[in-house]
Amino acid sequence: MSKTLTFEEPIIKLREKIKELEEFTNSSEVDLSKEIENLKIRLKNLEEDIYENMDPWERVQVARHPERPTSLDYIGELFEDFIEFHGDRVFGDDAAIVGGIGFFDNKPVTIIGQQRGRDTKENLKRNFGMPHPDGYRKALRLMKQAEKFQRPIICLIDTKGAYPGKAAEERGQSEAIARNLVEMAGLKVPVISIVIGEGASGGALAIGVANQFLMLENSWCSVISPEGAASILWRDASLAKQMAEAMKITAPHLKEMGIIDDIIPEVMGGAHRDPKKQSEFIREALRNSLAAFEGMDGESLIEDRYSKYRNLGVFTE
């Protein structure tokens, strides 16, 4: 049974009612098919009404849905012959970031993704998708490898942030993130980054200096989580809902502000409701993005990234 989010409750109730009536019709002489038909139309309208008008906080809930597909779920759907590579060659292998190579439309690509766990046990292994410096350094190693073999790089962003821990600080969390930002700026191959769930802080950006920066419709991206911002700016983490609105963290808001290049549509109600279909939406977007940079030389790709990030900022002269 899928986890129900509060704002979905009317839909779930109606769905249950339809099911009840269907069961009743099957086990009795009374024919309720007309009523059921009407309720199904009502359900469709209700779904459209609720799911197509999600407010920012509702989108945050969808982005955090425990069954939301993770990087490895999409990797399994989108890439042929994927093989995972491990380790940063310095300290260890951070399971909060996965990476490797595979075929996309018969062409080799490098894939890097932040990886949450799908249950408690896996979350412990993957540190809830919050990378240590070793994860960022592994990512950079794989990016440099991609550059050597002239493969495009696809990054899937899904993190609440870089891990704020003692060991992370000791091994240079700041430097690991900063290094990625600078080195990604100079990559001679196309880089496509997609926020598939949550994308908070430098911990997300560290695999996000891309030629195209895309977001799934219900993902969010921000300098800090809405809870964190509310606790710092308003001294009250319980104002996260209002903060999610004020900070403009959703895909539609960020598209409007010119921060992201495009929104990848989601299955009605959220990616978790049909991961296979969702993967097809991502495949389509990736195809378009990769085609846009096909044949572009290294210097032009660097130039493209430069002008993209160079122009971000709001101020007056």
């Binding site: 240079g172 993130i177 900063a178 200096v209 921000s222 300098v223 700016l233 004020a246 502000m257 990030y309």
Partner: protein
């Protein structure tokens, strides 16, 4: 991180910058009390030692212009981009008022002063952050000013020196503040590709989004003694790992021991050290036209 630093700062505030909140038992302006050893020092004497406590060696916070005075050859520093103005892109209540008040108090247009000047006779570009302005946090104007300073260095073939003093990203500008990390990074990459020198000097505090972008990727990373340098805030980490952190955690000395710094340099040796490093990289004097 920001809040944590903020409360700390109110306590530790050096009183050469008069502020409404400053409640000190010594007359503001004339005398300064060392927040570490409580020694009371004549403010004019403190400038003679580059704002280092003569008794306990505590490095007081400096304004950007005080650093210019201590580092650059006399009358060589020319500031730039003082006309850029902060906006309120997310319409956060009272943000503009806070910025206006910090402008008034610091005389700066934002939390960084940029420009060109000579150190030991050699022309360099510099960006000097000032933590008296919104905790030195980085929003659009800070990112833009630093980026323009780096681009100027790239165009003129000059070294760039960045003095960091920042609690991190400017929350009120949301995603735009995050993107300044990427903006400054692409500019530094281009500067680096031209074979030019970048010296990062980390001062109290260098944390969050500033620590996790330009501050950590100098060709040479140096820091002032005891400067707080780190990614996440101490309290956040203590809550996460559920253990007490050592006293020296995230100090410059800690970062040196963990391989993140080339050197910790006392303020009285800063100009000499920078000048030496620059001389070792720039063979002939570059004059900017």
């Amino acid at each position: 991180m920001i809040r944590e630093l903020f409360t700390k700062h109110k306590r530790k505030q050096a009183i050469t910058i008069p502020s409404a909140e400053a409640k000190n038992d010594v007359p503001e302006g004339i005398m300064t009390k060392c927040p570490e050893c409580k020694e009371i020092i004549l403010t004019k004497d403190l400038m003679k030692t580059a704002k280092v406590c003569p008794k306990c060696d505590h490095h007081f916070k400096m304004t950007a212009w005080e650093r210019v005075e201590c580092l650059f050859d006399e009358d060589t520093f020319e500031s730039m981009d003082n006309h850029l103005k902060t906006e309120n892109p997310l319409n956060f209540p009272s943000y503009m008022e806070k910025v206006a008040s910090d402008k008034e108090q610091t005389g700066l247009n934002e939390a960084v002063l940029t420009g060109t000047g000579k150190i030991g006779g050699i022309e360099v570009a510099a960006a000097i952050m000032d933590s008296h302005f919104r905790m030195g946090s980085m929003g659009s104007v800070v990112g833009e000013k630093i980026t323009r300073a780096v681009e100027k260095a790239t165009d003129l073939g000059l070294p760039i020196i960045i003095f960091s003093a920042s609690g991190g990203a400017r929350m009120q500008e949301g995603i735009l503040s995050l993107m300044q990390m990427a903006k400054t990074s692409v500019a530094l990459k281009r500067h680096s590709e031209r074979g030019l020198l970048f010296i990062s000097v980390m001062t109290y505090p260098t944390t969050g989004g500033v620590s996790a972008s330009f501050a950590s990727v100098g060709d040479i990373n140096i820091a002032e003694p005891k400067a707080l340098i780190g990614f996440a805030g101490r309290r956040v980490i203590e809550q996460t790992v559920r253990e007490k952190l050592p006293n020296d955690f995230q100090t410059a000395e800690f970062q040196l021991n963990h391989g993140q710094l080339d050197a910790v340099v006392h303020r009285e040796k800063m100009k000499e050290t920078l000048s030496k490093i620059i001389r070792l990289h720039v063979r002939e004097e570059k004059v900017h036209e």
